[in-house]
Symmetry: D2
Subunit: 260 residues, 4 copies
């Protein structure tokens, strides 16, 4: 279930569970509820074991929708977060996101990074990418600064990733058979995330994106919106508001402005 | 957010929230955490409203991954179940599964039916199907008795669906322009689920499938397996077990036998 | 490029070229036109070699969209047929269709069977299937009589497949580790196609499906429709027809009736 | 079948046939061979009509795999090119490529641009893009200079696109409801292709990419490779070559170097 040997407890910082074989090939021969109960029990034993060692490393689960199993239980970040919550393991585990797994689950590259970060579960990142139109995991080096900027922006927003890391679990392509390719791939991969981090920091420093988003949600900062957020509103309040004020002017999403 | 007008409270049995527009087009202009907080608040208001009416109908959420939004918050059954758990709404809501939405999220037709059923969330079913190779929702009538049998088997296993129903939210195809087509489509759709129910009941009465699955998990019914299920085992117990007994004989998954 | 050793020329009946590595990983480092020119040259050498042997076996190409290459030149049946036509190889090659490759190219299971058959290119069939929601090739045994009936119906319509065959290139699933599984898989796979053939023969003998389709296209059997088919019509004829007769009554596609 | 009214013959430059409804919903009720024969006849009538007018505009077909039909006959560039060749229409038609249609057919964004260009069929381009993880056509403005550079590089390589154009058939997103969004979208879309063209021109002027690709195929420029390209080689020549020289050193594909 785990693919990396843990370092001795006194120096380990993170321990990732990758459940690529923890899934089913067919629901006909499987009792998925019993399997998930067992998986939760296994992870609880890992938590108990860590405590018995007095260890402090962060336990992490790496979501992936499938491959080699036809369907993995750790489908994506939110499936894992719901599982951890259901079995009372949410205090002991975070997630390690590999964005190409996210795309295989039908989300955009940065989706699981952002969703796990905003709910406090983002613990570490695998800096790989995939080939968009393929239905399997290619673990390539990421060469797209735009994607890297998305990822690093989320890391900045949550105040860093430590003790987690940006892990290069990527491979050169099958056709890249020269030793030189290994060198170029690692250098270019690191450069890409460095450029992404610079771009993300510049966007953050500029502040426009933050300001635009804040303005878009401004109606929740005062009046009825603020009451809704505080959990002090009812349908009757909403009905009264609409009858008093009329239907709100629709605010444009301005997607083109943001993308530009 | 809801697509069906509720009947008067004295006769309503189910009320479905379909959040097809509750999603984002771009994460750049969106604060997904704030959106989910708002959605939870809205649903809590619906629960409060229901209580203030003294109503007893079942509230339901219908998962769908996208369309018309680029990415819907109610992606699939497990995402919804995790959301309900996170916001403390899991006692008040169940899910209404439309299996063609499930396939659009990258799962097999019956996946969300089974996953929600086994965790006590399956409240109602939309009896539609899609066209497998298309990336959007076609809401066709289901003409495949094998798929219907899978669905009805899960319904039998959980002891029925009431007050939920098998809802025909399906449409005839665009090219089907005769009045007769409507008649044939509904009759064939109902026949398909009737045949599926008969097949599922026969499989259940026969008992072989149940027996095979039970045998596959037999090692968890006694000894160390039973201790694991009861939450009374540790890594030390597992280590001792393997050292004493040697590695277990691998049991074949026998997928072909089940499918046949 | 070929995966099977040819039998001695005096007994061979078919020879399949499977070009799974004849594709590109990236268009950046590839000259696709030059690659296709080379592939055509290689196949022409194979034709010349066969002639020099005095051999009579059928040469076949097996389309597949990708895996292991990121993008294969033999993407699907129609891509191969267009390639053969462009390079003047269409008299010397037919195609060997594996329907799970077809689904990976975004078509329905039977699409390439029918498209190649109707243009005289269907030479042999691999009797495998895939797992619908997976993005790679699983080469499973087909257990769905409905799909098998579709395939066998096309074979009946073209008057058989000889010298081609129904080839079981399928594997048992990774979890199926008993010897018994191999036996069950082959028996069930053959049974499925036998049931499919019986169903297809019954549908053919019944004649309703043929009759319905014939009626749907009846307007092309006489009058202007027949002139169109014969290549003797012009836009002026069509304009005159519409002005004389008014717009035609739309005929329902009746998809539900056919599926039922 | 065509979505744009032709301008008067004296000024028209291009005429695009978009066959979005020229496909099938189900193969059960369809005779695909007869449909393709009819489509070819229709297009031949269009050619005859153009000639009778003495018109000189370019006729174009725009490939698309599906939507609104479940499966369109004009699936992708190579399917269309094969169809034109089969029916003897290849001298009279070119293709108009919309790269987001290409991704819906399972290829990368630039695939159909390059494949049609290298065989002399690229006549015009729709400058739209899609949202990668969606299974339908969103016709967005393209904001990715890297993708635009790929497209413009192919245009440079074939010496321009005239009389074809870069057509903005894109729409602002549903949520973009301000008039300002329309302005921003068009300006940013045009800027993206301008930046793409500059990047492509710089890459071309630099010459490294061309040189690397030329070197990769260098073995086909002399000796046996040149004989193969000239159609003057046989299997016997190849066998002799390998026996004489031993197996060739494998050349690395160096994908990472190219992507960087």
């Amino acid at each position: 279930m785990s693919r990396r040997q843990p370092p001795p407890p006194h120096c380990a910082r993170s321990y990732v569970f990758w459940g690529g074989r923890e899934g089913y090939q067919s629901l006909l021969n499987t009792s998925p509820r019993r399997e998930l109960d067992h998986m939760a029990r296994f992870l609880q034993m890992a938590v108990d074991h860590k405590k018995s060692l007095g260890a402090t490393y962060q336990l992490l689960i790496e979501p992936k929708p499938r491959e080699p199993s036809a369907h993995q239980y750790d489908y994506d970040a939110q499936t894992v977060m719901g599982f951890l919550k259901h079995y009372g393991l949410d205090k002991d585990f975070k997630v390690n996101i590999e964005p190409n797994h996210t795309t295989l689950a039908g989300h955009s590259f940065e989706h699981d990074i952002i969703m796990s970060s905003k709910f406090g579960y983002l613990g570490s990142i695998d800096a790989n990418t995939g080939t968009p139109e393929l239905g399997w995991d290619t673990d390539q080096f990421c060469m797209d600064p735009k994607k890297a900027a998305f990822v690093m922006y989320a890391v900045i927003e949550q105040g860093g990733l430590a003790p987690g890391v940006l892990n290069f679990d990527a491979k050169v392509r099958r056709e890249s058979t020269d030793v030189e390719d290994l060198f170029i791939a690692h250098a270019a991969g690191m450069d890409t995330f460095a450029r992404g981090l610079r771009a993300a920091a510049a966007i953050k420093a500029d502040g426009s994106l933050d300001k635009w988003v804040k303005e878009r949600y401004a109606s929740f900062d005062t009046g009825l919106g603020a009451k809704v957020e505080a959990g002090k509103s009812s349908f009757a309040d909403c009905e009264k508001f609409v009858l008093d004020k009329g239907e709100a002017k629709r605010t444009s999403g301005q997607q083109e402005k943001y993308e530009q």
